[in-house]
Symmetry: C2
Subunit: 104 residues, 2 copies
Amino acid sequence: MSTAFDVVAEPARRQLLDLMMLGPRPVGELVAESGLSQPNTSRHLRVLRDAGLVECRAQGQRRLYSVRPQGFAEIAGWLTPYVLLWQGGIDALERHLEQTGKGA
Amino acid sequence: MSTAFDVVAEPARRQLLDLMMLGPRPVGELVAESGLSQPNTSRHLRVLRDAGLVECRAQGQRRLYSVRPQGFAEIAGWLTPYVLLWQGGIDALERHLEQTGKGA
DNA sequence: GACTAATATGTTTGACTGCTTATATAATTG
DNA sequence: CAATTATATAAGCAGTCAAACATATTAGTC
């Protein structure tokens, strides 16, 4: 099992996610627009799915893959303090840690 | 050269970042609190530094490492649409893409 | 300037991962 | 049900990377 961080570290997978961002896409379109080989695309989609970053529903012989936003919670949760530190300084960060209880 | 995504994919490096979050820390403390070996810690800090995620200033024979929040821009910038999609739905995402011009 | 403390680098090894090619499964059409 | 389209899986190879261990560098102390 890999974390969302591992999964998203791969440029090809970020590209696939970006292609799915605005709505569900069949694999064929993802293959065409990403430039990845079909098996390669399929493998990456599998990894994304196992990590909970995308989901898949069948429509005829196609499979429609779409982004699963909740899957990004792990990354977003970890990143938030650093973004706060960036935009609000150390005191914004401390307030956040206070609230989330991670400051103990 | 590796992207911020690659760098942050490593759990040990996220841990080090977390240890530096509240302020600059000397390497020795990071070694002690992370449980990583000293060379290993040093190597990870090097990677973090090369990626612009931390910076380093010398104080006597110690080196104080601290988080460099701007370094997180790449990740934050990529992640934002997905967080928006999560919290605000597709229309929040579309407004954002409109503004940032990535929607063309 | 020898000695110690603090940190960095080099090397090797083992594990993991992505890509390619070939093949298998599943749904669709005639 | 044969043929075709769409997607998934398998096996092999090559490149990458983190950990361990040894060693080098830099700064402070006597």
